[in-house]
Symmetry: C2
Subunit: 332 residues, 2 copies
DNA sequence: GGGCTGAACTTGAACGATCCACGGGGGTTC
DNA sequence: GAACCCCCGTGGATCGTTCAAGTTCAGCCC
């Protein structure tokens, strides 16, 4: 009834611990008939190698750290949720577990990561929500904690260990789609927080439409990321003659939608960002972030670093995909 | 530059490993001046005890397993998100980490939990999304994996290791609130999936209003948990003379809202469930689930079991709280 | 037949923290 | 002053796995 160990199994089978270890880790080092005998015993006894003992001996935890980010700004929180899902699933397939931990600030996050790494609780980590001049990559590199980030090193020195969504290309595609629908004055409804992500999306929209500086200033409105502000911004854009809009988030596109709807317009003139459940439920078009590809990429990056700490990597940009919707009979 | 260990620190300080270990784990066993000297050295060198070595020696991982539940049904996914947040934060304060893992089915979840437990990767686990005749509690008990569940053992034998939200009380409070606002025909917009959670909420609504069987049948409409179905259900309820509605979810209440709004009604006659970001953004009232208390309770329960595997526990019901909103100037 | 090779398996020694039995010094008690 | 206890601290053994260095033995060649 006690947990079987290498030693107890070995005694029972009259072979050495090492032979059993080899059957598990290097099967071809063992003669086929011995291997079969050992494997049978493993199955029968339900033996599982102790992760703790392995971690101690190999100096490797087979785990990755992930900060549980702060409750997200409203509706758009679900991107991180989806990203976490992909990451956990793919990590699992590579034999890695994800360890969650809380942190209120970036400093606390780095402290905890370094601590987790020292204590052999994780081998590497994944960063999210990178910001202008984010200090975390440099600090982690300093402490030689392998990492990869979902998000560019905006402004900071390029460390190459990141994957990000190409917001510029996404906004450009959205704008082009609206133009293909026949719209000639297409507005941009963005964030006033000065975030690099927001600026990037705005540039994509302006470039796709080949706008002059004056035109861009006229057709872009930047507000806080709330439904109310989105509605107010949309009203403003309509008054400036826009007939369609590219939004920096689904929160804003929801606000825009409330205005369009009241005036009897079609929801097809709005394209949001992130393809959240709300957009799906309301039949609003949105740019879907390729979180699965991003998760796969950052995972590959940390695994590569674990295998070879000196490996050189290069950042990767992945374009989002337009999910065009036409609403539903009832709520249309 | 190498990682300090107990042995290396001990050699440097001319004390034994045990003394340092005592300073960390049982400070009062060591003379104050020795303690101070050791603590200083710990700070200076940045020494951290190896979690792997500890786990091996103590047969305890200081970690809890949590299945990353499947992408949730639309808008309401955020409850689990909030619950996870609370859990991670509180576990951290007790020195426990949360290990995420994916599972497609309940069987796979149990298998992985038993495996994680065997390999000493976790000490216990948290279950969520309990369902009618859920087999997981019995299976985990069988494998002697300590656990606690967010959700009652609907239908199954009461194992006592759970905390849940009292949906019945919540729906009753919502109904009473609407009546206090002067409504006399208050409908219920619920799920057609036959879920025990949904039935429970419906019972709360009916009891609070002292409805007869006929009245209940007339004023309750059950549909799928989508915005469109919610809108259709609300239209039906209005045609039956209802002037207000208690909804089983914010998804449904959003659907109901689209109908009420089109007819120029006030959003105050709608109360949803889960207090999701969408409800907040749109100024809709909703019953907020006390996820923080639930997380605290289940955490206490697993810690108690880790300390004493034979401990007897009793399930806990916690009432949700009404968050009354009145909309905003713009979207009102 | 001596020596070499390689396959198949065994053995001892880590990894780093904690438990346990014990030792030496100092004080108390009879 | 001898027996006893308490406090502080020591060193060995232990948790379960894997690495590195053996050992054994069959097969082969000159």
């Amino acid at each position: 009834m006690n947990k079987p160990t290498l030693a107890s199994l070995a005694a029972e089978l009259n072979v050495s611990r090492q032979t059993i270890s080899n059957v598990i880790n290097f099967p071809d080092r063992v003669r086929p008939e011995t291997r079969a005998r050992v494997q049978e015993a493993i199955e029968r006894s339900g033996y599982r190698p102790s992760a703790a003992a392995r971690a101690l001996r190999n100096q490797r935890a087979n785990a990755l750290g992930l900060r549980l980010s702060n409750p997200r700004n409203g509706i758009s929180g679900s991107i991180m949720d989806a990203f976490t899902h992909s990451l956990v699933e793919r990590a699992d397939q590579s034999g890695y577990r994800i360890v969650l931990f809380p942190a209120r600030t970036n400093e606390e996050e780095v402290d905890k990561l370094v601590e987790l790494r020292r204590t052999l609780a994780i081998d590497a980590c994944i960063l999210t929500d990178t910001w202008l001049d984010d200090a975390r990559p440099a600090q982690l590199a300093e402490a030689s904690v392998p990492f990869a980030a979902f998000g560019r090193p905006w402004g900071a020195k390029d460390h190459g260990r990141w994957a990000d969504v190409d917001g510029r290309a996404g906004a450009a595609e959205a704008a082009a789609h609206l133009r293909a629908l026949g719209h000639e004055r297409i507005g941009y409804l963005g964030w006033s927080d000065g975030s690099p992500v927001g600026k990037d999306r705005r540039v994509g929209w302006a470039q796709a439409l080949c706008l002059s500086g004056d035109q861009e200033a006229e057709l872009a409105v930047e507000v806080e990321d709330t439904v109310d502000d989105g509605a107010a911004g949309m009203a403003e854009l309509l008054s400036r003659g826009a007939t369609a809009v590219v939004c920096a988030s689904d929160t804003l596109s929801l606000g825009a939608f409330t205005v369009i709807r009241r005036r009897g317009g079609s929801r097809q003139c709005i394209i949001g960002f992130d393809n959240t459940p709300v957009a799906r439920e309301l039949g609003l078009s949105s740019m879907a972030q390729p979180v699965d590809e991003v998760a796969a990429t950052v995972l590959d990056m940390v695994l590569a670093q674990i295998a070879d700490p000196a490996v050189e990597l290069e950042g990767v940009l992945i374009a989002p995909a337009l999910v065009a919707r036409q609403g539903s009979a009832l709520t249309g």
